[in-house]
Symmetry: C2
Subunit: 194 residues, 2 copies
DNA sequence: CCTACCGATCGGTAGG
DNA sequence: CCTACCGATCGGTAGG
């Protein structure tokens, strides 16, 4: 692990913006160089390959999701409260780093092997964490007796779609988004009878 | 509207496979020609441009979603029943035409203007249909008094994520997926108390 | 970080 | 549907 310079961080920032706006494949090294106001060849003083940039962005994003969620799972809160906080933490990662989260969620498939497999394994680990939470919630009777895998997918999909419509200047704060989402997921859309 | 030949349908089929597997930008006309066992230049006897293929795929997919959902919305069923059937219909479109649905959901951004705007408008119309349903459900007291727009997003996001994990040879039928999804969305994940 | 350049590949066309 | 090709652009490198 070599330390990364300020300029390298600037390059990553430009890559995050362009990859999230146009997609990885549709972004050329010339696009990035232009945004950085340098010549295309000069970019390679700061990066090794274009794919390395993608890899750095998605692994950093994965790190953020794990770091936000792990301490909550390791705590001794009851499952429903863990779930509330995990949703809040995950949503906050998406809203705070919207660009890299979008790349993490949509551009990973352009990684080549062996990174592609490493990525998938890590993403599956994360899914496993959420699934463990759902599993416990069902065991303990806090969550309904339902298809564990399917419920996990519902939680992840509803959280991950947020990057598609979230705008920092929109009317809702990340906290509000997390609160409404947990509320709807836990209690359902149907009007409670009685 | 010129009628499309069997060969043109074959070309569209190959494009659906490659665009969904690798993405639009990462698929070259040479990739498509090779899959069709013809020379790259010969492809242009059947298509005008590569983007026309993308446009045909996403508009056909949009047509399918509207056609599946419209008659249900126009019926005189109660809102909750409409919602059940709309979810089932939408999920069935995704599972029956998984490749084109995936392209519709993820590759549309590579359209150029003015098609990009036309696409967005149509997608917003569809979202409006679902939102109208949610609106009515709240008015009539069948759905909980909640953020209408947010509930619409939750419904759409949970349905649309299915293409990410659905496999035709998996254990669940489209009907089962739709049933479980509606159940969880309407009643929530929390164990009903009392 | 620049100049100058590499071979490969891109979407697409002319003429048959 | 093929041969033969177009100019443009791709990711990346050598040498300074």
């Amino acid at each position: 692990m070599s330390e990364s310079t300020a300029k390298q961080q600037e390059v990553v920032g430009v890559a995050e913006r362009l990859f999230s706006e146009r997609g990885y494949e549709a972004t050329s090294v010339r696009d990035m160089a232009e945004a950085l106001d340098i010549k295309p060849g000069s970019l390679y003083a700061h990066i090794e390959t274009k794919e390395n940039l993608l890899w750095e962005i998605v692994t950093n994003a994965a790190d953020r999701f794990f770091a936000a969620v792990k301490p909550i799972l390791d705590s001794d809160l009851v499952t429903i409260e863990k779930l509330r906080r995990v949703v809040a933490a995950h949503v906050t990662v998406i809203t705070d780093s919207a660009r890299s989260a979008a790349i993490y969620l949509t551009e990973w498939r352009h990684l080549s092997e062996p990174r592609l497999s490493r990525f998938r394994a890590r993403r599956d680990d994360y899914e496993g964490l959420i699934r463990g939470l759902v599993h416990n919630g069902i065991q303990e009777g806090e969550l309904a007796d339902m298809d564990e895998k399917f419920a996990t997918m519902l939680i992840l999909s509803s959280m991950n779609w947020i990057h598609q419509w979230y705008r920092p200047d929109g009317p809702m704060t990340p906290q509000e988004i997390a609160r409404k989402l947990t509320e709807m997921l836990l209690n359902g859309l149907r009007r409670a009878t009685g």
